[in-house]
């Protein structure tokens, strides 16, 4: 799962340690999420969204989805009926 955590954090001039404190996790966890090595749980993703004042999908993206957030699989199905 891709995410914009690093960009959003940089925009606010927060360090990884500060963000980790705010989300009640370790700095290692923030780094692992930012580098895409670890996908957060839904509660943690919700906490991050609340902290940044954004919706979850504005921070975390499913790489299988299109850039506009639409599902390519749905498009294939829809095209098949046209």
């Amino acid at each position: 799962m891709r995410n914009r955590l690093k960009v959003l954090r940089a925009e606010r001039n927060w360090t990884q340690a500060q963000l980790a404190d705010a989300l009640d996790v370790s700095r290692q966890t923030i780094n692992a999420i930012e580098t895409g090595k670890f996908d957060p749980s839904l509660p943690l993703a919700f906490r991050a969204a609340r902290l940044f004042g954004l919706r979850i999908e504005e921070i975390f993206h499913d790489p299988a989805l299109n850039e506009d957030g639409s599902n390519p699989a749905t498009k294939i199905k829809r095209d098949a009926y046209m």
Partner: protein, 140 residues
């Protein structure tokens, strides 16, 4: 720079307190296990009452250590808990896979010494340590 509100108790301080408590319980368990193992021979000349008392104390401290471990794991965040459980899984697997052949080799006198449980405990400790270190470095 926008203001950032942090959680009240602080993850790092909670983990530090929890880890310190766990280390204290582990230290106490090692001391009471040594007392139980060597006490009958060196301290109370194999008096049954004292030996039973030492066993009871060791088990009681062991239960305390398990509860402290549980509290420590519950305090970990989701990534660190994942690393911990992965290491635990590898440790249990290695213990079973190495322990049974080790016991069989002792049974059929393939190895020239007794398959003591201590060897397995050392192997488990080392396996957990290496697995935990690997997991921690992997997500660094």
């Amino acid at each position: 720079m926008s203001e950032l509100t942090t959680s009240g108790s602080g993850y790092r301080s909670r983990i530090r307190a929890s880890a310190t408590r766990l280390v204290c319980w582990q230290g106490a368990w090692v001391v009471f296990t040594a007392l139980m193992a060597f006490g009958p021979k060196f301290l109370w000349s194999k008096a049954l009452l004292f030996t039973l008392l030492a066993v009871a104390l060791d088990v009681a401290v062991g239960v305390g250590m398990i509860l402290a471990t549980k509290m420590y794991v519950m305090e970990l965040d989701e990534l660190q808990r994942k690393v911990y459980f992965n290491a635990l899984g590898v440790t249990v697997g290695v213990a079973v896979i190495a322990g049974i052949p080790f016991s069989v080799m002792d049974m059929y006198h393939v190895i020239p010494f007794k398959a003591d449980i201590g060897y397995l405990v050392i192997l488990m400790g080392l396996t957990f340590f290496v697995s935990f270190l690997y997991g921690t470095r992997r997500y660094r």
